[in-house]
Symmetry: C2
Subunit: 179 residues, 2 copies
């Protein structure tokens, strides 16, 4: 692959991440191209379909989140790591429409069902650790945690969720998870 092609690919990915984070998946490909400083044709050369571009962005995002969850599960304090990850994800979802979009892709709308499932694994580890540490009730299941997470992320990108409200809302959910 030629050097300029690699360069442009990177610029397109960066621009797409910013544009889709701000305007959601409905943002136009032209806007991505403009932000990347390339022509439309170049975007479609690297990503034959808008869906491919979206999937690339979301896979990248989910991979980063998965890595963070794994790190937390390995090195974090089991009693607080799950809650910390919640906080982390909801904060990110608040200004990245991509997060909520990716998480709710159960139907495979963006082709990132597998990465989402992969994210579930380390979250399961976080949950198990929290339960062993006595920080979360034993009867809480992973699917419930994921449901709460997607719901909170969805809600976070809508009006009025300033930092204070976000924290207080999360606190209520955390209280519901504790024994």
């Amino acid at each position: 692959m030629r050097a300029d092609a690699r360069r442009n690919r990177a610029r397109i990915l960066e621009a797409a991440a910013a544009v889709f984070a701000e305007h959601g998946p409905s943002a136009s490909t032209e806007e991505v191209a403009a932000r990347a400083g390339v022509a439309i044709g170049t975007v479609f050369r690297h990503f034959p379909t808008k869906g491919d571009l979206l999937a690339a962005i979301m896979k990248d995002l989910l991979a980063r989140l998965t890595a963070e969850a794994e790190t937390l599960a390995k090195d974090g304090d089991p009693a607080t790591a799950l809650f910390a990850f919640f906080e982390r994800m909801v904060r990110e979802a608040a200004d990245k429409r991509t997060v909520a979009g990716a998480l709710s892709d159960g139907g495979g709308e963006f082709g990132v069902a597998a990465p989402v499932q992969a994210l579930g694994e380390p979250i399961g580890a976080l949950l198990a650790g929290a339960q062993r540490a006595g920080a979360v009730r034993e009867d809480v299941r992973l699917d419930e945690v994921l449901a709460l997470l997607t719901g909170l992320c969805q809600g976070a990108l809508h009006a009025g969720w300033d930092t204070g409200l976000r924290g207080r809302t999360l606190a209520i959910v955390f209280a519901g998870l504790r024994p």
Copy 2:
């Protein structure tokens, strides 16, 4: 207003409610017209803008929910009425994309900011009643309850939230609200 006009208006509203509930606000006006059994022009005669049609549907929906909340606040058991209303709304949101759409209209995207605020009032009454009855912690605020409600409604219309999961997830939130 002529009789046939009233009849068609009602059919359009009914069709729009069904179509938007199923496919969300992005559904086409033509589909609404087809379902109502009228021509496109007729839809635009009654609702000059697609936004007007959406607003009408959502206002109607929110008014019904508001009425239900008021009834519950007046006649229901204060200790359980708030939870019952949560259950009710989330269940409806699960198969009506309109609910989540309307609730998250803080930015006035669909012009139903006022009806949403009106819905907040009786919910505040439900919250106050639950707190007096000792069913909800005293330090829980209305905005937190509304945030949880919107988040859960958003999450409810996405993959995997079968009845069981929905109930268990709500149970966790309820546990977080209790003293």
